[in-house]
């Protein structure tokens, strides 16, 4: 729980995983499926309706990024528990071309004509924890968490 060695936003390992699931994201309708599944879990965990909206909006942004830029990827969700708190962890993983200007994207400066950069930057504000790793070899992995 004390490792802070990664660049950018260090994200501590999750606590105990209570339940988890995976949604494959390829087509546009998978964005809706990912959202629906995240909404169900978030409501079950007992998030407030505003937090549910924040979570589902973040899922929509990040799943759409997979659909648009990597064609194929997955969203993994985990209900996690740490220090008496319950939370939701979402991992968006793809083997796409990666993001050129990660720092710019995180600062919200890099924005393509379709507003991609703003989506990731905004998503960071909606969630409590955020981590992004991206290389041209391994694609992009974005991990976000929200605590109740």
């Amino acid at each position: 729980m004390s490792e802070h060695d990664s660049k950018g936003d260090p994200i501590k390992p999750a606590g105990r995983v209570r339940q988890s699931g995976t949604v494959r994201v390829m087509g546009e309708e998978d964005i809706l499926r990912a959202r629906q599944q995240a909404r169900g879990v978030a409501e079950e965990i007992g998030f407030s309706s505003t937090d549910v909206t924040r979570i589902v909006t973040a899922v929509s942004e990040l799943a759409r990024n997979i659909h648009l830029y990597a064609d194929d990827g997955i969203m993994e969700w985990r209900e996690i528990e740490s220090g008496g708190r319950t939370g939701l962890e979402l991992v968006f993983d793809d083997d796409g071309p990666g993001i050129d200007d990660v720092e710019g994207v995180l600062r919200g400066e890099h924005s393509t004509s379709d507003g991609m950069g703003r989506g990731i930057h905004g998503t960071r504000k909606l969630m409590d924890e955020f981590d992004l790793t991206s290389t041209s070899e391994d694609g992009t992995t974005i991990t976000v968490r929200k605590w109740r």
Partner: protein, 156 residues
Amino acid sequence: MSATQTAAVTQVYDVLIATFPGRPTDGAVDELQQDVLSLMEEIEPRGVVLDVSAVTTLDSFFARVISETASMVELLGGDAIVVGMRPSVAITAAELGFGLDSVETARSTDHALSMLGVRVDDEESATAAADNDTAATQSAAADSGSESSPSPGGGR
């Protein structure tokens, strides 16, 4: 499930009311934009009310289409007003920093109609005269109003 996919455009007086579905695909959102624009050309209404009261998730794509639709309506000589945004959606949109600043908004469909210059002199004649479309719109707005104020923490 079809209700979550389809969008509807109806006419009240000389105003179009476009109701966005709660969980539309990107394609359905694009289609609604097309429908609004072709009806703008056909009917030449004085304005369009964009009803988002069923919308539970407004991401950057959806927000962009709404603000684009509003500017296109204005280019075609009408006024566009967004109505019925849920509080949780408004909070999230503000946090995400969507470019909805330029979009005109109203509290209710009634309010939007009066902003668009639709005048109904007294309430009784309004109810009598418009028992179809307007009444239906009013009750829809009322329903969404009560839905949009859930108890805090009431996840289920």
